[in-house]
Amino acid sequence: MSGRGLFAKQVVTAVDGVSISVKKGETLGLVGQSGSGKTTLARTVVKLARPQSGSVLFKGKNVFDQRRNEAKAYRRQVQMIFQDPYESLNPRATVERAIEEPLVIHRLAGNSSSRKDRTLNLIRMVGLNPEAVSKKYPHELSGGERQRTSIARALAVTPELLLADEPVSMLDVSIRIGIIDLLKELKRELDLTVVFITHDLGVARYFCDRIAVMFKGKLIEVAATEELLRHPSDPYTRQLLESVPDPAKSAREKFSSIQKG
C-alpha cells in the first residue's frame, strides 16, 4: 500500500503463512508472546477476520466460500470464548438471557418452556446454581462466575469446535484451574474439539494434547505437549520455556541464576 498521511492505509502482516490442522477431539494449545498472531489466527477461524490469502478448512470445506445456510450452520458449530467476560457479556442481559439468546437466534429449542429448561441445565452444567445466578447481571457476578456464564453461552448451541482465547488470564490464580477443569470435563462429555490460546505454558501443559508455538505471525513449532516441553527443537521455543517462572524448581537455584544473568 502506498500513500502517507493520517488516514493512509498501512498493512501489517499479523499471521504469515501458517498451516496447521486440528484433529477432531483434541485440545490444541496456541502459545506465544503478545502480538505473535495467535488471536488473529483464531479470529480468522471464526470468520471475524478474513485472510488476504490462504484458506481455513472445516471438515474439508473452505469456510470462506460457504453458502448462506452453510455459513449460519458454521456460526453454530464453531464458538469462541474471550479473555474478558466483562467485555464479552452484554451488561444489560441477565445470565439467563445471555445463555438463552443463542438458542433463540439459532432456533434450537422450540417453545419457551423447553428453552428455559435447557438454559437452566446449561447453567448447572458450568457449575453454577440457577437459583442464585440466573436473574443476575454480569456486574453482580464474580470473575469466575462471569467466565462460566460465557462458557455456558458458547456451549448452548452445541458447537463442535471451541476456541478459547486466554479464558483464565483475567481470573485469580486460585480459581483458574477450576475453570480449566470445567473445560476439560465439558470437552469430554460433549465430545468437543478445543483450540486453547494462552501465554501461560503451565496451563497449556495441564490442558493441551498438542502445543503450537507462534512467533511474529509465524508458526514456529508444533508437537505433542510433553515432547515440546522436554525437547523443544526451535531456539525461540527454548527461550519461551526458560522464561516461565517455575516454583517447582528450587527457589534458591533460580534466584542465584537470575542474579548472575
Binding site: 508472546q33 490464580v173 486460585s174 505454558l201 516461565v244 517455575d246 516454583p247 517447582a248 533460580k254 534466584f255
Partner: protein, 324 residues
C-alpha cells in the same frame, strides 16, 4: 534494625455506615536489600498495605499499629513530612504503570518533572540524572526523548521503574509489575530488579497475586488472606514446604512446567469477601483440613522452628501458648 518494621497494622476503610476492616493485625519486616513478596487474591488487602506504607490511602481511612521505615514512624506522619518522605525514601511502581505516562509528553520530560518537584536541581542536572536512570534500567539514553506510544510494554515498565528510582529511595514498592507482560518480557524485568537489588542494595516490596513470579525474585514471601497474614516464610521454605493450607493450595493451583500435574488442584469456593467474612479462621470454608476449632476461633500467628510464621490451628496442637 530492619529497613521496614510493620507491627500490628490494622486498616479500616470508611463506608457509608461504619468501617470495613481491610487489613487486620499484620506484622512483617523487610531488611535492607531484601525482596518481600506479598501475595494474595483480589481483596486480600495486599495493595492496601502497600498504599499505607506510602501514605496514599484516602483521608477517611483509619490506620492503627506501627509502620517504621528506616526508624521513622509513618502512621502518624503529617502531610508535609509525608510529601518529603514519599519518593525519596519509598517510591511506587503502580499497577498498570505502563499506561500511567502522559501520552503527549516525552517519557524523559515526565521523569525530569518528577525529579524537579522533589528536589532542588536545575533542568540540566535532572536530564543528566534521567539519562543515567535510562541506562541503569537498560533503555538506550537516546530514547529519553521518546513518547510513550513509541515504547513497547516492557520498555514502559522499565521507564516506570527508572522513575521510581529517580531520587534514590531505600524501598521500592512494586504493585503487580509484571502481570500485564508476557513471560519473555517478564523474565527481563525480573532480571532487572535482581540487578538493581544487587548493585544498589535497594529493598523491594513486590505485591502480586502470582506466587510463581515470587519464586523467581522474593527472598521472603508473605501470603495474605482476607486482610490477614496466613503465612510468612523465607522463599525456599515457602516453595519447598508451604505450611498454611492456603499457601499449599495456592502453590498447587499453579500448573508448572516441571511439577507433577496430578497434584494440581483448584481451590474450591470463591475468594473471601471482606464485607461478609466467616467466623473463626477466614479460610475455613475453603480449607481441606478444617476442623471444629477453625469455625469458632481465629488462629494466631505462630512462630515455627524454621523461622516462618503460620496462622493455622493445625500447627497449634500440643502448644500451650502461640506467641504472636
Amino acid at each position: 534494625m530492619p529497613l521496614v518494621d510493620v507491627k500490628g497494622l490494622c486498616i479500616d476503610y470508611k463506608l457509608q455506615n461504619g468501617y470495613l476492616r481491610a487489613v487486620d493485625n499484620v506484622s512483617f519486616q523487610i531488611d535492607e536489600g531484601e525482596v518481600l513478596g506479598l501475595a494474595g487474591e483480589s481483596g486480600s488487602g495486599k495493595s492496601t498495605i502497600a498504599h499505607s506504607i506510602l501514605k496514599i490511602l484516602p483521608r477517611s481511612t483509619r490506620v492503627s499499629g506501627s509502620i517504621l521505615i528506616d526508624g521513622t514512624e509513618v502512621v502518624q506522619m503529617d502531610d508535609r513530612t509525608a510529601r518529603a518522605y514519599r519518593w525519596k525514601v519509598v517510591s511506587l511502581v503502580p499497577q498498570g504503570s505502563m499506561n500511567a505516562f502522559d501520552p503527549v509528553i516525552t517519557i524523559g520530560s515526565q521523569i525530569v518533572e518528577s525529579i524537579r518537584i522533589h528536589s532542588k536541581v536545575d533542568k540540566a542536572d535532572a536530564w543528566r540524572r534521567t539519562r543515567e536512570l535510562f541506562s541503569l534500567v537498560g533503555i538506550p539514553e537516546g530514547r529519553a526523548k521518546g513518547y510513550p506510544h513509541e515504547f513497547s510494554g516492557g520498555m514502559k515498565q522499565r521507564a516506570a521503574i527508572a522513575m521510581a528510582l529517580s531520587l534514590n529511595p531505600k524501598l521500592v514498592i512494586l504493585d503487580e509489575p509484571t502481570t500485564a507482560l508476557d513471560v519473555v518480557v517478564q523474565r527481563q524485568v525480573l532480571g532487572l530488579l535482581a540487578k538493581l537489588r544487587r548493585e544498589l542494595g535497594i529493598s523491594f516490596l513486590f505485591v502480586t497475586h502470582d506466587l510463581s513470579v515470587l519464586s523467581e525474585i522474593a527472598t521472603k514471601v508473605a501470603v495474605m488472606y482476607a486482610g490477614r497474614l496466613a503465612e510468612i516464610s523465607n522463599s525456599e521454605a515457602m516453595f519447598a514446604s508451604p505450611k498454611h493450607p492456603y499457601s499449599r493450595a495456592l502453590i498447587h493451583a499453579i500448573p508448572t512446567l516441571s511439577g507433577d500435574l496430578s497434584l494440581v488442584k483448584s481451590i474450591p469456593g470463591v475468594p473471601a469477601n471482606v464485607l461478609s467474612l466467616p467466623s473463626g479462621c477466614k479460610f475455613h470454608p475453603r480449607c481441606p483440613s478444617a476442623f471444629d476449632r477453625c469455625m469458632k476461633e481465629e488462629p494466631r500467628l505462630l512462630q515455627m522452628d524454621d523461622g516462618s510464621s503460620v496462622a493455622c490451628h493445625l500447627f497449634d496442637r500440643g502448644r500451650k501458648d502461640g506467641r504472636e
